[in-house]
Amino acid sequence: MAPSTQFEVSQPPNDVISAVVFAPDNTNRLLVSSWDRNVYLYEIAEGTEDATLLNKFEHRAPILDVCFGANGNEAYTAGLDCSVKRIDLSSGEQTVLSTHEKPVRCVVYSPQHSMLISASWDHTLHVHNTSAPASTPITISLPGKPHALAASPSKVVVAMTARLVHIYDLPALAAALSSADPASATITPWQQRESSLKFLTRAVACMPNDAGYATSSIEGRVAVEWFEDTAESQARKYAFKCHRQTAPEEEGGGDVVYPVNALTFHPVYGTFASGGGDGTVALWDAEAKRRMRQYQKFPDSVAALSFSNNGKYLAIGVCRGFETGMENFDSEGRAKVFIRELGETEAKGKGPK
């Protein structure tokens, strides 16, 4: 097995990283969004241990999330200035797709349905048909403030405050969008769940096989559950502690519990990685329910993770994490992006026994 390598991107953002994401159609291309108001487009030079900064797209406000659109030349951003923007990555042209009443926390693109969904602290989702940019978006009211959003081929999962989790059916949303009067369409969640985690949700990621999703919380814990609403499927769900450290005995012992900021599923093997405020990344086998690997500690909190479309690379956004009591939070110059090239079977699980 070829030894895996890891390198640091040479021109990282200057401030907190909100998202890292690989392109859907290009293994070497990735976007990084930052609170420094820029979106960074990098390309990994094949065979080298470097990623070149191809372009930088400045916004007028910090960017809380970024995703690719239909291909590697299109991106969407979630802005603290309440706007959802589309960026043409070739020309650099930015267009406002939608404006929320409060900052936009997350954006997610469904390639299967050509839909862009944004989640905002104004307690709404906006659903856009991106194949008809001028068409009316659907606004869905949420019972809580959304903090994490993820899409599988057929579902979108929204995690909110008060442990609320709504799952929407993407084909149903697509049908509503193409109806005569999308604005008046009544959208109800396909499922409403209570979060399996007791504390605030930090991240959601969906299984690439459309079977379920994982959530993580500020309290060093990850839950894995399945969409199917049968007793058997629901009995399979589980949660476990992670991203914790034992405090030294001199400090009274016990656990220091870190938020689990990032989750990402491997597109081929269905295993997943978690990244935490403890600066570690762990690889988990969701089926066999075991930890496969834990990577060497990074210099700061792990803020974001993404596997490339073929699972060859894992991008790791590392920066200072906001912790309780950090009134004078300053994270400038501490952001780093690491690219790990995985060994062929590094992320391959053993499957259930």
């Binding site: 030894p3 609170w35 504390f199 500020i218 309780t324």
Partner: protein, 360 residues
């Protein structure tokens, strides 16, 4: 050693064989053990390099692959730790050596008893046995027989005490474990006594799915109650999920296997007070398979079945019970680096002047 393969090795021979701390396999000689350890337990799964110790592998993984070794591969669930440095037979803790020897002895007599039951042959040492007594190595057959007699006396004593175990003796592990299993439900089941939040947890307190080898020093366990003493958290959202509908009818929070072993495993056979001889006890334990039997044997079986680091269901009950106790104590000191469950870090950051949105 190793000069004859025919017949059955005697117990001294078995006890003298080098064996592997990590997986309890035994070997003809020390060289084979060491190469086994290098191949099975100290091999880098990234580049195939074989190191001499777990510590050596840890350093290698760190330096060459920038990865942290968090456990020893292919080891029994409770032997995966990196805190013990093993090389061949060196470094094995005394209590583990004792446990190993005890297991060999118990298994030896189990096998012997079964052979005798099957063939009708008298045990060795008696007229017509399997040949002359071997030269004495560690413990003579007489000494072992004395131990057996002690067993019997202890068992009789247990029976006389109405099934109460006195001090831990050579009573087969299965017995202790069954007792443990029998106690577990009582200590976990009272739903009424739990805090509402705990009672309504979507996961049973000893999480059935808690499969991962815990990080060093962190025991997997029950969900802590939402607000811990000494934990800085915001007001907790007063929303609780509905009671789970899965699980047993009498113990709704118990995973199905919690009542002792998998169905058919025989682990829930109750306290074996009725068994009258050691042989019956040990062969009974052997018959019980997955549900009972020696703890180490269970782990080995589980490993052989490819369950890897997953503890077998039978072992889990006891483990979870322990983890829960430990977890409760630990959670008192739990410190969350971010403790606000109402307002996200991003919302707090958004209020900082440096992130203020420039006027359009």
């Amino acid at each position: 050693m190793g000069k004859k393969k025919r017949g059955h090795p005697d117990v001294e021979e078995l006890l003298a064989r080098p064996w592997c701390y990590y997986c309890e396999r035994d070997f003809e000689d020390l060289k084979l053990l060491i190469s086994h350890q290098k191949a099975k337990h100290f091999k880098c799964d990234r580049c195939g390099k074989r190191l001499n110790t777990a510590g050596g592998l840890s350093v290698h993984m760190n330096q060459v692959h920038k990865e942290a070794l968090d456990k020893v591969e292919n080891a029994l669930a409770n032997r995966q730790g990196l805190d013990i440095e093993i090389f061949g037979m060196e470094g094995v803790p005394d209590d583990i050596v004792q446990q190993h020897n005890q297991r060999i002895i118990t298994n030896f007599y189990t096998a012997q008893a079964e052979r005798h039951a099957a063939t009708g042959n008298p045990p060795p040492g008696h007229a017509g046995g399997q040949g002359p007594a071997k030269k004495i190595k560690m413990e003579t057959p007489e000494e072992l027989k004395k131990r057996l007699a002690d067993h019997r006396a202890k068992v009789a004593q247990i029976k006389a005490n109405g099934g109460t175990l006195p001090v831990p003796v050579v009573v087969p592990k299965s017995q202790q474990q069954q007792q443990q299993q029998a106690q577990v439900p009582a200590s976990v089941s009272p739903v009424a006594g739990q805090s509402p939040a705990q009672g309504a947890s979507p996961f049973p307190p000893p999480q059935p799915g808690f499969p991962y080898p815990p990080p060093v020093g962190v025991m997997p366990g029950a969900f802590p109650p939402p607000v811990q003493p000494g934990v800085v958290v915001g007001a907790y959202p007063p929303v609780f999920p509905p009671r789970p509908t899965t699980g047993g009818t009498t113990l709704p929070h118990m995973p199905p296997y919690y009542n002792g072993g998998p169905p058919g495993g025989g682990g829930a056979g109750g306290y074996p007070g009725a068994a009258s001889t050691v042989d019956e006890l040990v062969s009974g334990a052997a018959r019980q398979g997955g549900g009972g039997g020696d703890e180490i044997d269970q782990l080995i079986r589980a490993a052989e079945q490819g369950q890897g680091s997953k503890p077998p269901p039978g072992a889990r009950a006891g483990e979870d019970a322990g983890a829960e106790k430990k977890g409760k104590g630990k959670d008192k000191h739990m410190r969350m680096v971010y403790g606000d469950s109402e307002v996200s870090p991003e919302e707090k950051m958004a209020l900082l002047p440096r992130y203020a949105v420039a006027a359009a």
